[in-house]
């Protein structure tokens, strides 16, 4: 049985930009009838341009958003419209690592307190001990527990976010663009850490990113999104060998590999596609502001 299964999963959110005073905001369709499965202990990369709905999908998986249509099951249980009370026992197993650790960590709390808080909330025995263990696992030993987020580097802060998520021994983690703000060497360390934790703790991970290179090193499965739809999904290696969707080819072609390649800058995604392939949609103008 897959850990997650979605059938025709749709989600709409109120469009606050179009809201008129004293009227309900019109709703805007973000996800359009997605069908997918996520196997236990897999790491699935969810990729796409900003505004493609990849983060919204991740948030739906951990039920930070309630789907408006279709069906979503977690471990065989229908969680599509579960209320907050019914979700509470599941929350421990649906964890999130946020993109920006400096805004997702309380600046007034020590690292120890930050990692302990969810442990207390879920009534886990001896929170300080469990927090220490989690911090050890992410390579932030003893003394870090008494420090404050501002005393840490970006990479260390992101490790605290990871420790907070894994401390609960969850079954699933949604990681939202967690390495895009980091330096090259820190990024490689965090990717290595996540890989190790996934094996040690038998985690299932949904890793949202716009960078196909990062996903290649971390994820065994891939979902490519565009405008709220899944345009391609499957085995990561297979998709990289022969990307089918024009959107996948465009994402791949946009990555600057550290290699001299004259003409790369003026190459358009459609000219990068193999001959005979359908042309990529017109992307000569930048996408509208991201919806998150």
């Amino acid at each position: 049985m897959p850990l997650f299964a979605a059938e025709g999963l749709s989600l709409s959110l109120p469009d606050l930009n179009a809201k008129r005073l004293f009227r309900p905001a019109p709703r805007i369709e973000i996800l359009h009838g997605l069908d997918f499965e996520i196997k236990e202990r897999s790491c699935v990369g969810i990729v796409g341009e900003s505004g493609s709905g990849k983060s919204t999908l991740g948030r739906a998986l951990v039920r930070l958003h309630q789907p408006t249509g279709g069906r979503l099951t977690f471990d065989g249980k229908d969680i599509t419209h579960l209320g907050e009370d019914a979700l509470r026992p599941l929350r421990r197993h649906l964890q999130v690592i946020f993109q920006d650790p400096s805004s997702s960590l309380n600046p007034r709390h020590t690292v120890g307190a930050i990692v302990e808080a969810p442990l207390r909330l879920h009534g886990i025995d001896n929170p300080p001990k469990a927090a220490r263990e989690a911090l050890d696992q992410v390579g932030l030993p003893g003394a870090f527990a008494s420090r404050y987020p501002h005393e840490l580097s970006g990479g260390q802060r992101q490790r605290v976010g990871i420790a907070r998520a894994v401390a609960l021994r969850p079954r699933f983690i949604f990681a939202d663009e967690i390495v895009s703000g980091l330096d090259t060497s820190t990024q490689a360390q965090v990717i290595a850490l996540l890989k190790r934790l996934q094996e040690e703790l038998s985690l299932t991970i949904a890793f949202v990113s716009h960078d196909l290179s990062v996903v290649r090193h971390l994820c065994d499965r891939l979902m490519v999104m565009s405008a709220g739809r899944i345009v391609e999904q499957g085995d990561t290696a297979a998709i990289f060998d022969a990307p089918q969707a024009p959107e996948t080819r465009a994402l791949k072609a946009a990555i600057p590999l550290p290699e001299i390649e004259p003409g790369w800058l003026t190459q358009t995604p459609s000219s990068a596609a193999p001959p005979g392939a359908p042309a990529a949609p017109d992307t000569t103008q930048d996408a509208p502001a991201a919806t998150g």
Binding site: E49, S50, S153, G154, D183, T184, S185, T186, Q187, A188, Q189, I191, A192, H210, D211, L212, S213, V214, V215, R216, H217, L218, T236, A237, F240, A250, L251, K252, A253, A254, I255, P256, L257, P258, E259, I260, E261, W264, L265, T266, P269, T283, T284, Q285, D286, A287, P288, A289, A290
Partner: protein, 290 residues
């Protein structure tokens, strides 16, 4: 050919103390029309170099040695007024975060017109027309809508296009681009890189491109300076550096860059040995400096 920008033996230190350097005797020179990449991780001092050029170092940081010459003249001894003349007119900055570089409470059009009247001394109506032409030049399809828009109404890519247009407005000889695509996603990044390269070659300005991404450097820069902890570790033609990095640090950085064309297990974080070597090199340099 004489260098347009010539940084010689530059040391910048916190509180002006010799044992507290942020930049450690940095030398680099950029010829007219050259595109140089300035690469390093956070804390390497790459933005600090840009800030020294523009005379916008934070108060705690002080130049304690060396010189920064632009077109043969030292930038460090300029008065505030002279500096203002050079900035904008002869050199311009494309910042990392276009949102903080734009005034959130004013329309794009009036902000652009303001800067153009100040820099070029044009009259408002001429500056208005010029702003529109500039936006067309950076391939904004509906310049009139953008001129009327507030910054928050534009996407990140669009805002960056506006700032690129402004940077090139006065035909400066030098553009410093400080991680201009870091906040953008890959497809938008590619278009913005293409635009910067196109504008650079059309206007013939020299470009100092600050980034942490060696992939971006490979695509846009002819030469590259790699920094570690405020120290130049390698300075060469980009093609040579990519083909055969000389410094173990550059080598390690290349190995730590994720690449979709390599197998999943090919990614190697910078090893502790390399970092130890680098720290020792920094300590040696500091020892010799005392």
């Amino acid at each position: 050919m004489t260098a347009l920008l010539d940084i010689e033996n530059l040391s910048v230190a916190l509180g002006g103390r010799r044992d507290n350097r942020l930049l450690r005797s940095v030398s680099l020179s950029v010829s007219p029309g050259e595109v140089m990449g300035l690469v390093g991780e956070s804390g390497a001092g790459k933005s600090m170099i840009g800030k020294t050029i523009f005379g916008i170092l934070p108060r705690a940081a002080e130049v304690i040695e060396g010189d920064v010459r632009f077109d043969g003249k030292s930038l460090l001894t300029l008065t505030q007024n002279e500096r203002r003349m050079v900035r904008g007119k002869h050199m311009a900055l494309i910042p990392q975060d276009p949102l903080t570089a734009l005034n959130p409470s004013r329309r794009i059009g009036s902000q652009m017109t303001d800067r153009l009247t100040k820099i070029l001394g044009e009259r408002r109506d001429a500056a208005n027309r010029r702003a529109r032409t500039l936006l067309e030049e950076v391939h904004i399809r509906d310049p009139d809508r953008v001129l009327r828009a507030y910054p928050h109404e534009l996407s990140g890519g669009m805002r960056q296009r506006v700032l690129i247009a402004e940077a090139f407005a006065a035909e400066p000889q030098l553009i410093v681009a400080d991680e201009p695509t870091t906040a953008l996603d890959v497809t938008v990044q590619k278009r913005i890189l293409g635009l910067i390269a196109e504008m650079q070659s059309r206007h013939g300005a020299a470009l100092l491109f600050v980034t942490h991404d060696l992939g971006v450097v490979a695509k846009i820069c002819q030469t590259v300076t790699v920094l570690y902890s405020g120290m130049v570790v390698e300075q060469r033609k980009t093609a040579d550096l990519i083909a055969a990095p000389e410094s173990p640090y550059t080598h390690a950085l290349l190995d730590a860059s994720p690449r979709y064309d390599r197998p999943a297990d090919a990614l190697r974080p910078v090893s502790p040995e390399v970092l130890a070597t680098m720290r020792a090199a920094v300590a040696n340099a500091d020892e010799a400096y005392r």
